[in-house]
């Protein structure tokens, strides 16, 4: 099938899936009667739950899941490696520490509406990514082993710092941090969504504008250059855009693992490896996945709400284990 047709069909199907998941997600939850019915009766509590909690939450899940998905796909193109993702590269860990420092220092205020906490998360992500990239590159090629090791080590280091901050926090602060570190979409109102979008929208536009270059980059630096790609500029744009958008998301939701790893992987199994298709589809499927995971986290043992990071990590982990076992005879690149 030609790329354009595949692009249109897969995007339409995923958009429909997103819409269906969104409706189901909005309608399910702990509130113990049909929320639509209650809304029509003019129930004030139902209205609050619907507009202040459910809708913002579904939007946040869309923004967060979509961003993690698209960033995973972009990083995999940059590292020419299907195991790269915000989580495995230590970017999530970096963003978490950055955001936590911001929160503890009381930097809730922003600059021109951009939250200081998100800016710190962005800076930490960017530095982590540049560090991991330079450490894992041997003779111009990213070595998978070094890449994963560097990511794991960075995550350990960051969690040591987080624990250090935890140790000197009082009980309430400590509990808040704990909840946040587990990854959660527990927000009230649309403020957080808008604040995140201010970072995510430019980031995603940048990434979507260089998907063709990412494909060419998959043929090697020299061939990409010979086909008209400014390789250095493309790499810098991916660094910047993924740190910007993933950092902003993580500073609100905490580190939510495996979305960026699993989503592009599943899509490549079905749709092939063309980044012009994989990137936008990773946004949509990532959004669907996180929304669904959040719905499960709210309803599984309702009224108790399990942090959604636990759900995504367990689903993602099991999926990857299955992949490992299935491809036992292949060399995992």
């Amino acid at each position: 099938m030609i790329a354009k047709k595949k692009f249109i069909i897969s995007l339409s199907v995923l958009f429909l899936l997103w819409a269906v998941t969104a409706v189901v997600s909005v309608l399910s939850g702990t509130y113990d009667m049909s929320i639509l019915e209650a809304l029509f009766r003019g129930d004030e509590l139902a209205g609050t739950i619907f507009y202040k909690i459910r809708i913002p939450r579904v939007l946040m899940a869309t923004v967060a899941g979509g961003t993690l998905g698209i960033c995973g796909a972009a990083l995999q193109a940059l590292f020419r490696n299907p195991l790269a993702s915000p989580f495995t590269l230590g970017i999530s860990g970096g963003a978490s520490l950055g955001a936590l420092i911001g929160i503890r220092l009381g930097l809730a205020a922003g600059i021109l509406g951009f939250s200081m906490v998100s800016i710190l998360a962005f800076l930490f992500s960017l530095l982590t990514m540049i560090f991991v990239y330079s450490v894992s590159k041997v003779g111009g090629v990213v070595a998978t082993g070094r890449l994963l090791l560097a990511g794991v080590v960075m995550n350990f280091l960051y969690s040591a710092f987080v624990l250090f901050i935890q140790f000197f926090s009082n009980f309430t602060e400590s509990l808040q941090t704990m909840r946040w570190i587990m990854g959660s979409l527990d927000i009230v109102g649309l403020d957080e969504v808008w604040k995140t979008l201010m970072f995510v929208v430019p980031g995603c536009i940048i990434l979507l504008s260089i998907t063709k270059d990412m494909n060419l980059f998959g043929l090697g630096d020299d061939v990409a250059s010979s086909l008209g790609v400014n390789v250095k500029k493309m790499q810098n744009l991916i660094y910047f855009a993924t740190s910007l958008s993933a950092g902003a998301v993580i500073s609100v939701t905490g580190p939510i693992g495996f979305v960026g790893l699993v989503i592009p992987h599943i899509l490549r199994m079905i749709l092939g490896v063309d980044n012009r298709i994989i990137l936008p589809c990773s946004f949509l499927l990532g959004a669907c996945f996180l929304m669904a995971a959040d719905t499960v986290s709210r309803t599984l043992i309702s009224p108790v709400e399990i942090p959604v990071g636990i759900i995504t990590a367990s689903l993602g982990g099991v999926f990857f284990l299955w992949l490992l076992i299935r491809s036992k005879k292949e060399v995992i690149v």
Binding site: R80, N81, G218, G220, S226, L227, G228, V229, G272
Partner: protein, 257 residues
């Protein structure tokens, strides 16, 4: 002979080490040009300078009488195609996807391939003879098939010049012959200037119109393959005794006396 690429006093160095020194060349249309030289003589560097990926510190490269650096990258990509020695295929694209990537310089940032691009890819696959591979994953093809796919990808760029780094090194004699005949065909039918670095004296002798020998970063000999490939030149180029014997229209080349 119409000159396409001209090097004027090109020198290049990495750090303190000088790789190329004062290279002067005039390369004409519709020729097949082999660059011979020992490992590390500067062949690959010269190729990268000829296509503008590396910039010479001294001297200049002219492309159709204009400095190569005055063209932007996409403009160069429509004129000069490059095929590396060991192409990277980091993701399992299909063969036809790889070939369509050669149309990138003709397609806008948010555009997909148009009908003419798909037709160009189809024609290139027919010319190269790999139409049956179009849906195969590039990662599951042999090195000969990959080389053919790379040539088809280069061909859809509709280039005036095709630059190849060791196009036949990893191939057996049958596939080597196939690739070289294909390159000759492209030269004759499409008027493409073919420039290839090679280690293989035999392919150089049989298939190329002209040989440039590079030694320690300088042009050491330059001329038709019959005149340039001889005992003195080869022995000096590779630093061992090489015998070249011409008998009844056949040429024998072997190390020693």
């Amino acid at each position: 002979m119409q000159t396409i690429i001209e090097c004027r006093g090109v020198s290049f160095s990495y750090g303190a080490g000088e790789i190329l020194r004062d290279i002067n060349l005039s390369l004409g249309k519709g020729r097949m040009l082999g660059i011979l030289g020992a490992n590390g003589a500067g062949k690959s560097t010269l190729l990268k300078i000829l296509m503008g990926i590396l910039k010479a510190q001294k001297g200049s490269v002219l492309f159709n009488d204009k400095p190569l650096q005055s063209y932007d990258r996409r403009e160069i990509a429509k004129r000069i195609a490059y095929i590396p020695q060991d192409p990277v295929f980091a993701f399992p694209f299909t063969v036809s996807e790889v070939i369509l990537m050669g149309r990138a310089p003709y397609i806008g940032r948010f555009e997909f391939e148009r009908e003419i691009d798909l037709e160009a890819a189809k024609r290139a696959m027919d010319t190269v003879g790999i139409s049956h591979l179009k849906d195969r994953l590039i990662t599951e093809t042999s090195s000969g098939e990959r080389q053919l796919a790379s040539i088809a990808r280069a061909l859809v760029q509709e280039p005036e010049v095709m630059i190849l780094d060791e196009p036949a090194t990893f191939l057996d004699i049958k596939h080597r012959n196939e690739i070289m005949n294909l390159l000759r065909k492209l030269k004759e039918e499409h008027g493409i200037l073919i420039i290839a670095a090679t280690h293989d004296i035999f392919t150089a002798l049989f298939y190329f119109d002209e040989i440039i020998m590079i030694k320690n970063g300088s042009v050491f000999a330059n001329g038709s393959s019959e005149t340039v490939i001889n005992r003195e030149n080869l022995s000096s180029l590779y630093g061992i005794d090489v015998t070249v014997r011409r008998e009844g229209g056949k040429v024998f080349i072997y190390p020693g006396d």
